[in-house]
């Protein structure tokens, strides 16, 4: 039973795909909202995000989504899934937009991929990192159930996450550097890729999320 899944909406871009994908995998009820009362009643929370980090942080703070998120993670202790810029917003700071302070929920940095960027063989790599890349699982987790190691997921980002505490690393992705693809801590699972755009593998991860009790 997924119960009520709240997709936190802070006004940055289209969240319909996330909501449609959650409905598709059988969530009982999905709401896209920043209403504090509704989120307080939620059984699990998805924290998505697209666009530039400065604008995202501005809206997250203006709508007090940071407090809602902290409450979900601690007081409510419900499962939380962060996606893409949602993950980046949880780090301490980002190099994007000339340097932006983020929520510091997970100590660590969001770094630029660098230009020029190249792989181990010296081939030039384009930025943004856009498309389907192999996700290397670093530890077991309920959200990886039914998903083989090195399955490809859809990424689109120019900045990548590096958590300080390497024990949080649930998956990495190679793109000129080794970037954090998923971080896991207690009832929080945060991914850089877009499960809602990653076909069968992404839907499986969302299915795992709506059935997850928040423990590892």
């Amino acid at each position: 039973m997924s119960g009520l899944v709240a997709v936190i909406d802070y006004g940055m871009g289209n969240l319909h795909s996330v909501a449609s994908a959650l409905n598709h995998v059988g969530a009982d009820e999905v709401v896209v909202t920043h209403d504090a009362e509704l989120i307080r009643k939620a059984d699990r929370v998805v924290f998505p995000g697209v666009g530039a980090i400065r604008d995202c942080m501005h809206e997250i703070r203006r709508l007090q989504c940071d407090e809602l998120l902290t409450r979900a993670l601690t007081e409510q202790g419900i499962p939380v899934l962060a996606i893409c810029v949602g993950l980046q917003a949880m780090m301490s700071s980002s190099q994007e937009n000339g340097g932006v302070d983020c929520l510091d929920i997970i100590p660590g940095e969001v770094r630029y991929f660098g230009n020029p960027l190249s792989d181990a063989e010296g081939n030039r790599l384009k930025v943004p990192h856009m498309g389907w890349n192999a996700v290397c699982q670093k530890r077991q987790h309920p959200l990886w159930r039914g998903i083989a190691d090195m399955t490809r997921f859809y990424f689109v980002h120019s900045y990548y996450v590096h958590a300080e505490d390497r024990s949080l690393l649930a998956a990495s992705v190679e793109y000129g550097v080794s970037a954090d693809a998923a971080l896991a801590r207690d009832n929080l699972f945060a991914v850089q890729f877009h499960p809602e755009k990653s076909a069968g593998a992404g839907l499986q991860l969302l299915r795992n999320f709506i059935g997850w009790n928040g423990t590892c």
Binding site: G131, S198, G202
Partner: protein
């Protein structure tokens, strides 16, 4: 394993119906973009591009509705292009469920539209479409110029310089169509593909002229493209997406299988 090269089937849609026809076994309605998009999704397409060729204003509402329906059923990235004129048009398509919007003529008429929309919605969702035609210099040096109105109207703009300018203004990707090759089935125009992929840091999708699976391989290996877009070879069932991927993999290209 590294980042996979992408295969992108393209649907040309007029007032909510796929034109140029589709000939799949087992498709109930060959004109329904939602059913066709779902079929490509099942076949393992990496993305879908939806090109709206609806001329009338009223028809545009149908387009929005179609995009909404595709986004509800298809969980891979969806790009919508055709008739995008303003930041408001982009917002409408993104809200309907498009992941990326492709801008063509409007970028030529107003290059700042690319900057404004990239700042507003993020570069990741702004694709600039370039329709290029070969117009060699007098000394025979290859040069490509941007044409509008289906390849009929020259703009005098150099395609390679334009691609760089669009990347500088915040485009996240270039969709490059060779107007000399579009519809010919003679393969991509590899010269302009290579010139633009070398000139910009952002990903480039090659389009126009695919007639067989070797053409897809050439676009990646010789053209240097990050993704290949094709319509008719997939629509008429000549080749399926898995066949295309198997062929590319056999030639050493990384694909998502």
């Amino acid at each position: 394993m590294s980042l996979a090269k992408r295969i992108i089937p393209c649907l040309d849609v007029d007032c909510g119906r796929v034109v140029k026809g589709v000939n799949f076994v087992g498709i109930r309605d060959a004109g329904d973009p939602v059913e066709i998009a779902m079929r490509y999704n099942e076949q393992g397409a990496d993305e879908i591009t939806f090109l709206d060729i609806t001329a009338s204003h009223e028809g545009r509402d149908t387009t929005v509705h179609t995009v909404e329906q595709i986004a509800e059923h298809v969980f891979i990235p969806l790009t919508v292009g055709g008739g995008i004129r303003s930041v408001e048009d982009i917002r409408t398509m993104l809200n309907a469920g498009a992941d990326k919007v492709s801008i063509n003529t409007a970028a030529i008429n107003n290059p700042d539209l690319v900057r404004e929309s990239a700042e507003r919605f993020g570069s990741q969702c702004i694709v600039v479409a370039i329709d290029a035609k070969r117009v060699d210099d007098v000394d025979g040096k290859p040069r490509w110029e941007i044409f509008t109105h289906g390849g009929r109207k020259p703009t005098g703009i150099d395609a390679v310089e334009w691609a760089q300018k669009m990347a500088d203004r915040g485009a996240g990707e270039i969709l490059l169509t060779s107007m000399d090759r579009d519809g010919t089935k003679n393969g991509f125009e590899l010269g302009v593909t290579r010139a633009i992929t070398d000139a910009v840091e952002i990903p480039v999708i090659a389009s126009g002229g695919v007639g067989n699976l070797d053409h897809l391989v050439d676009g990646i290996i010789e053209g240097g493209a990050d993704a290949v877009l094709a319509a008719s070879i997939f629509h008429f069932g000549e080749y399926s997406v898995p066949e295309a991927k198997a062929h590319m993999a056999a030639r050493g290209i990384e694909v998502r299988l």
